[in-house]
Symmetry: C3
Subunit: 477 residues, 3 copies
């Protein structure tokens, strides 16, 4: 039946209908639930005696914009290192993040800012929604090149819900501190994506081996992503902290941690490289691990030395992960991690959570003074000891790993696919929730190839379309 006009029409309508359906649904939910908050509503803001200078906008919006750059430019271009997958890397980042911002406004709003039956939005909800989009894009990095946009939208639909629940459990129920999201964003996003990638394992992926590398200019595009992520990470970690010293200290710690992860990455990359040469993959990714590793502890009294030490550790661990662990993950554990999110977000995220356990456990009234109330309010009011706070932090990590793994497993089933060719391909475990076989994922030889989803221009003086004239996405089920 493949190739019949009816089926072709079905394929063609897949992405449009899903976009329209999701947009329609969020629009209706917005109409019912979402309202301006006190800081964005004309009547509410002017009711009472506020100075306009007190509006939250002036304290949070510059940080928000930096986070926004990281999500759309940073993640998008970082993934554009693949030689023939730049349109998809940047374009699907754009699509998924745009949807995640809407959907997460609803999910996070339901858990965090529901008042009188309404979700109230402003710059803080904008930052939080961008954070959720960040987690989704980390998972995207693990399955990059092997999944179609419709699958990815469904992944976003599911992941955003689980992200919201996990975040609610950690921050609201457990009283865990995690401003920059070592746990809620990086660990969650990474292990969600890795489990998903495991379920979607493709034994024949070497068929697209020639497309898995970079070319000279694609590596430079990726460096645009890297550098913008690196520059703005201090804003990322500090965007949702308490105002004043907390935000200031978080930015400072992240700044130092990143310089150390950069030095560590260059050192280790040259050390393990052939002939002492540096590897762009390490520089593009592991140098950022310093931002991930202080995502929890950056807000605390980590000390500038602590920031350097943590960043250096994260950079070296991450580089070694790219060199030695990624091949083992694929060979032994059948996890095909396109961008190495395990090295950039997974391990540094777990390290960051553990660092948070340590630094929280060491908190004293002397070190924090009256500021203890901002950083560890439950400790400040005597409801918890520092050790108890540390145990809660550790438990938060375990909760996050559980939610991420279960979520990635569900998502994988949701993205379930049939073998695209007669070659033997192990079926994923049967789906518990959803089985949506109509979703087109690319056949193995056309992974990492933009032409499956995009009109791709010819070369300047050569109308031929390169070695592979891609066919349409595989949608047989």
């Amino acid at each position: 039946m493949a190739g019949s006009p009816r089926r072709a029409a079905g394929r063609r309508l897949q992405l449009p209908l899903l976009c329209l359906l999701l947009q329609g649904a969020t629009a209706i939910l917005f109409a019912v639930f979402v309202r301006y908050n006190r800081e964005t509503d004309a009547a509410l803001w002017h009711w009472g005696n506020h100075s306009n200078a007190d509006n939250e906008f002036y304290f949070r919006y510059p940080s928000f914009q930096d986070v926004h750059v990281m999500v759309f430019v940073g993640f998008g271009f970082l993934m554009a290192f693949l030689q023939r997958y730049g349109f998809s890397s940047v374009g699907f980042t754009f699509l998924l993040a745009a949807f995640a911002l809407q959907w997460s406004t609803l999910v996070q709003g339901f858990f965090h800012s529901m008042h009188g039956g309404h979700i109230h939005v402003g710059v803080e909800s904008m930052i939080n929604a961008d954070f959720c989009a960040g987690a989704v894009l980390i998972s995207f990095g693990a399955v990059l090149g092997k999944t179609g946009p419709a699958q990815l939208l469904l992944m976003t639909l599911l992941e955003t819900v689980l992200f919201g629940i996990n975040e609610f459990v950690l921050l609201s129920l457990l009283g865990v501190k995690d401003a920059g999201g070592s746990m809620t964003i990086h660990t969650f996003g990474a292990y969600f994506g890795l489990v998903l990638s495991r379920v979607l394992y493709r034994p024949q992926l070497e068929k697209s081996k020639h497309l898995q590398g970079s070319v000279y200019h694609s590596d430079l595009f990726a460096m645009i992503g890297t550098i913008f992520l690196w520059i703005f990470w201090p804003s990322f970690n500090s965007a949702p902290t308490t105002l004043g010293d907390g935000q200031h200290r978080t930015a400072l710690n992240t700044y130092y941690s990143l310089t150390a992860s950069t030095l560590g990455t260059f050192a280790l990359s040259a050390l393990v490289g052939e002939h002492g040469r540096l590897d762009m993959v390490h520089i593009q990714n592991a140098a950022l691990a310093g931002g991930v590793v202080v995502g929890t502890a950056g807000e605390m009294m980590l000390t500038p030395f602590g920031a350097l030490a943590a960043g250096f550790l994260a950079g070296t661990v991450s580089t070694l992960g790219y060199k030695f662990l990624t091949p083992i993950l694929e060979a032994k554990f059948k996890v095909q991690d396109t961008c190495g999110v395990h090295n950039l977000h997974g391990m540094p995220g777990v390290l960051g959570a553990l660092l948070g356990v340590l630094v929280a456990g060491l908190a004293t009234h002397e070190a924090y003074g009256e500021g203890l109330d901002s950083v560890f309010p439950l400790v400040a009011v005597g409801q918890r000891t520092a050790t108890s706070q540390a145990m809660h932090q550790l438990f938060g990590l375990l909760v996050t790993l559980t939610f991420a793994s279960v979520g990635g497993g569900l998502g994988g089933v949701l993205g379930d696919r049939m073998p695209p060719s007669p070659s033997p391909s192990p079926l994923p475990p049967p789906g518990l929730l959803l089985r949506l076989p109509f979703l087109g994922s690319p056949p193995d030889p056309q992974c990492y190839e933009d032409q499956v989803y995009w009109e791709v221009p010819g070369e300047p003086e050569d109308e031929a379309q390169g070695p592979l004239r891609a066919e349409e996405p595989d949608t047989r089920a």
Copy 2:
């Protein structure tokens, strides 16, 4: 006489002399008229009892910087999609915007901030000048590839004046609200450029057809422009609003509108694409229409749902415009719109103006409370009803369309050119104001070709200069 040493010298001096003349003129006018305002003058600021924290700088400058990024990176790289016109796209954006900032400081200052015979400048005038530069660059997008830098500078000279007048009529005389410039920037810039493009119609433009498309990497460069425009559009629309809830709400509305135009664009692009494939032209442009469409109403109590609905509508209309309207515009109306500014700025701008009419007409004291005074001051003081404000908004749109069309027509005549070859080329209507035939525009086969204006490096291992060794710009008259 063509090719004679004297004529060659004339050609060579054209751009330098024009730059020097314009720079000299603005410098003299600056010396005579432009002064620091109260917030930038050492003596004035310290006269009286201000806290430094109250300086306008801290409320407007971050927004200004975001707008500045949009104008220079956003517009510049968005137009770099052409395979052999990246130098001109980015470079002429740089030149035109730099001149527009100076010239608009004078023109807008004359209309808006003339006190005691002097124009007073500070961060607000910087934002306003950048807005004018944005309008000029929109017009540039319509004629991209078909005009030389000297012509474009004269276009900027004229357009800036008309922009200033139109803005003055709308904002000061008519009391129209248009913070993000759906009318004053997008509608004005688009129709100015489209009428200009009509007057400069080239029937033989298919001679440079091979240069009108993109290549893989030029599309990625263009995505840099797109993404930065998308990210910072909330700052663009909110940069000149009243402080407090107004600025905050505008940013929020724009943020949501853009997410919806992105989903709408992906849906429609795949729907109308061959084999359901996405088209980079749509993603690069139509996804931004959500920013344009809330340029007027974003400041108002549009509601988050309203923002989503407006953005979605704009994204779909814009995508359909690229697919179906652009070919008709050229074939039937002889408008060659290189970047499709009619789809990204024209139609969404008009839609945005109409949305402003609607939302203004619905304004009530209940919805805005005391905040009505900031958004609709004339309604708040009882000088107008909401319906009357709506009618004024509508009239503002008509005024804008008139100024833009007349201006573009004048500009076209100003950029008047003779046919570059014996091929029959209809002459533009005779000029009313200016006829400057010495201005070099490229001959048809060399449109969209950097080598006409730039020293272009050879290819890495191949010293040959590509298929077309361009000659100098056509300056015969």
Copy 3:
């Protein structure tokens, strides 16, 4: 002995060991000396009655982020114009700047913010450290392509110390004003690099002539650097000024100066170009000279006209420098200035210092009012006349030129290298301080070639590595 396993191991360990050594040293020094300041320490900030809104973070951090973008994106990509040296340009910028931020925190802290045996850090020290990184990267521009990463790290080690001393002498001892660093950053960085390049003179450099140019896309990558530098330069110059009108005025002056240098650059580039064509080298660089030239005077009552005039002068001088002076510098003075830092930072920096002399000398109580206390505190309290302040400014320039020249000479000796081939190569003058012959610099034919230091991917459909399969860096001594 060359090529023996032992020597190869030594080569391979050079960069890693140096990174680890430097990181270890700064980490220990951080542990001993560096502490949070009052604005970043939880206990200190909450001790006393501050409003969180008063935290320095909210006044300086947006400027800091803009400066951070300039250092990492701006300088990094500006130097990526070379066709086969993009990885090194962006990557070594990343490495050097990351180290400079740490090291300069210590050096500048020792001179400027040592209290009770501790260096106190916060957003101001972050800005200052980024400024030092900027100076280092300017010097890097002079020797780009001819030095290896280990050499460059040692250059950074030395230059940061001298930068800190020079800055201390000027700002603290001499009471010189230089907010945007015309002297301390641009003049210092440029002449340090130029003297260094002189000492490292390579008579056989034409062996890598085929790699010294750009290609089409590398020029577009470089324009990313240019445009971000241009956009954020107002933040750079205003980042460390006094709050209020001072910061506001500095940003405004820089904004105008840059527009004029852009117009001047386009005018002169077309004027001196073959057939009136524009040269990308000029646009990428000279258009930025307007930011450099108001680095000292931008804070003063320069007037908007003064900013235009200064910017225009700088743009034209810089363009003429690229056209006529750079070839002479190499031919007559044996200074091989890869990026033309003499034209962009050297001459405009000196001009900026002289402009500062002039504007300081013209300062009156009438023009500055009570604001004189912020701009020229020593003049305000009657300790100096304006003329005396001007003389101090001039003396500051001379001090800077001295420190830069001596430092570059020392650095050159430090980076001393043996001739890579039997060709006659004049030895640099014998080292005064350090002679570290193990440091690998590339042999002449492999200058400007990434493959010496990086794993470089093959071309899309061609596994061959281009014309030059680079060997390892030259480390013979």
